[in-house]
C-alpha cells in the first residue's frame, strides 16, 4: 500500500514534524516499504481476540490523597529555552 508524498505531508503535519520538500518522496518510499512489511497483519485471523495494550494487565492503582510534591518550578524549568516569571515563552499564538 503505497504512501504518496501528499499523504505523507498530511501525516507530517499531524505530527508537527517538518519535512523538507525534497525529502517527501524518499521518505514516502521508505514508509511504503514498512507498510508492505506490516500489511501481512491483515491476513491474520483475530476474530475473537482481545487487543493487548500492555503486558502487565494491571489497572492503574490509586494512592492516598496526600500532598507529596513540593514546588520545584525553578529546578524543573531550568532546561527550558526561554522563560519569564515562571512562564515558558513561545511565539505569539493569538494575532
Amino acid at each position: 500500500m503505497a504512501l504518496t508524498p501528499d499523504k505523507l505531508s498530511a501525516i507530517a503535519h499531524l505530527a508537527r514534524l517538518g519535512v523538507e520538500p525534497e525529502d517527501l518522496a524518499p521518505l514516502a518510499a521508505d514508509l511504503s516499504s514498512v507498510l508492505v512489511l506490516v500489511e501481512q497483519l491483515q491476513a491474520i485471523d483475530t476474530e475473537a481476540v482481545e487487543p493487548m495494550a500492555h503486558p502487565a494487565s494491571a489497572s492503574l492503582w490509586l494512592r492516598d490523597d496526600e500532598v507529596t510534591e513540593t514546588d520545584q518550578r525553578d529546578t524543573l524549568q531550568a532546561p527550558a529555552p526561554e522563560t519569564q516569571d515562571g512562564y515558558f515563552l513561545v511565539p505569539r499564538v493569538i494575532e
Partner: protein, 484 residues
Amino acid sequence: MHDKTLAQQAAMLQNSRISSAELVAHYLERIDRYNPALNAYLQVDAEGAQAAASQADQARAAGNTGPLTGIPIAHKDIFCTKGIATTCGSKILENFKAPYNATVVDKLSDAGMVMLGKANMDEFAMGSSNENSYFGPVANPWQQDRVPGGSSGGSAALVAAQLASAATGTDTGGSIRQPAAFCGITGIKPTYGRVSRYGMIAFASSLDQGGPMARTAEDCALLLQAMSGHDVRDSTSSTTAVPDFSAELEAELSGLRIGLPTEYFGEGLDADIASHVQAALQELEKAGATLKSISLPNQQHCIPAYYVLAPAEASSNLSRFDGVRFGYRCKNPQNLEDLYTRTRGEGFGKEVKRRILIGTYALSEGYYDAYYLKAQKVRQLVSNDFSEAFKDVDVIAGPTTPTTAFKRDEKHGDPTSMYLNDLFTVSANLSGLPGISAPCGFSGGLPIGLQLVAPAYQEARLLNIAHRYQQLTDWHVQTPSGFE
C-alpha cells in the same frame, strides 16, 4: 584489573587488593586510550567518578559496603543523570541537563556504584546498529568496521572493550540482547515492570525495560538485584516481590525442560550460528536439561506487529519534544506552528522521523483499526503462544540474532532489512517476558549469542542457566584483540 569480571573486582575491593580510586583511574586511562576509536562513550565524568570512588573507599573503610560498592559503571544515555547531560543520542537533547536522576541511576548510586560516563546509543533507542546516533556510530571492538548492535551499542561495546565493569542498557525490541550478542557479552531484559522506567526517556511505554549488561550472568544478577523493585513514580512498575537473583545461580539444571521453537531453527538460519547454538544446547543437556521441540505459531507476525506498536507509542512519547520546555529550539520561530515543525524537523534524525510518521499514520483516523488495533490483537496472540509453550517447558531457547555483527553502512537505506535483526528478540517485549543473551561462540571472529526466554518474573531461572553454562564454557571471558 579490567579483564576481571565485576564479581571478581568486588572481591578484590573487599579484600583491599585494590581501591575503587585505583579501579576508576585505571578505567579512565583506558577510556582515554580506546574510546576515540570506538565512540562508545558520549561523555566521561572523570571528576564525578573520582569523587564517587573516594566516597566508596571511605564507606568501605567504615565497614559500610554492599556487593557493588565502588564498582565503575556506564549509563546508557537514555537514563536521566542530574550532573551531566542526557542526550538520548539526539541533537534535540544535545545539551539537556535533567533536573533529576532516573530511579535506576539513583538505585545503583545508592548501592555505591561509580558512574564513569554516558554511553552512546541509537537516537531515542530506535535502531539495531548504533548507526543512528547524532553523535556518530559506535565501533564493535571485535572488528571495528562492524556495528556493535543497537540501540544499546555504546553500552555493549564499552563492556566488551573493558572500559567499565558493566553498563546499563534498555530493551524495547531487543536493544540489550542483540548488542550483547554482537559484542560477546551478557545482557538481560527483565520482565516488564521489574525495573522502574522513571527517568528513563520513553520510546515505547508498553515495551521499554531497563537492564544490566556485563561480562557474566553472575555480574548481571548483582546489577539486576540493585536495579529492580517497585517504584511509586512509575505507574507501570510491578509490586511482585524481587527474589535474591544470586541465590539461585548455582542451582542444578537436572529436570530443566528447554523448548526449541521450530520457527527459530528454520532453513534460513545461518549455519555457523545454528551449529554454535546447538552445541550450547548440548552442553545444557549434558548438565541435565532436556530439549523439546515446540512451536510459536505467530513468530512470523512479531516483527510486523512490533513495527506498528512501537512507532505508534513513540509518536506519542516523542510529541513532548517541541522546543518549549526543554531541549533544542529552532532559531527565529515565526509562529507556534513553525516552532514545532522546525524544531522537530531539525532536531530529529532520519530513523526517528520515519518511526514517528509510521506511528502517526497507524494511529490516524481511518487507519487505527486496521493497523494499531490489529497489531494489539496480534500481540495477544504472540503472548498466548508463550503461555501455551510454558505449559510444557520451563524456558525457550534459540539464537539471539539471525546474523553476527554486520558491517557499518551495510544496511544503509533499507530500513526493513535492519528491522529483521530483531527477529528473535521482539517477541519477549511484546509479551513482557524476561530474556537473556549470553555468548556461545564465534563465527569468523564475531560473537554469537544464545537467547533464553522465561515466564514472567523468572529472571533468576535465566541467570541460573546462563551462569551454569558460563561455568562450563569460556566464550564470555574472551577479550577482543587490541583491548587486552
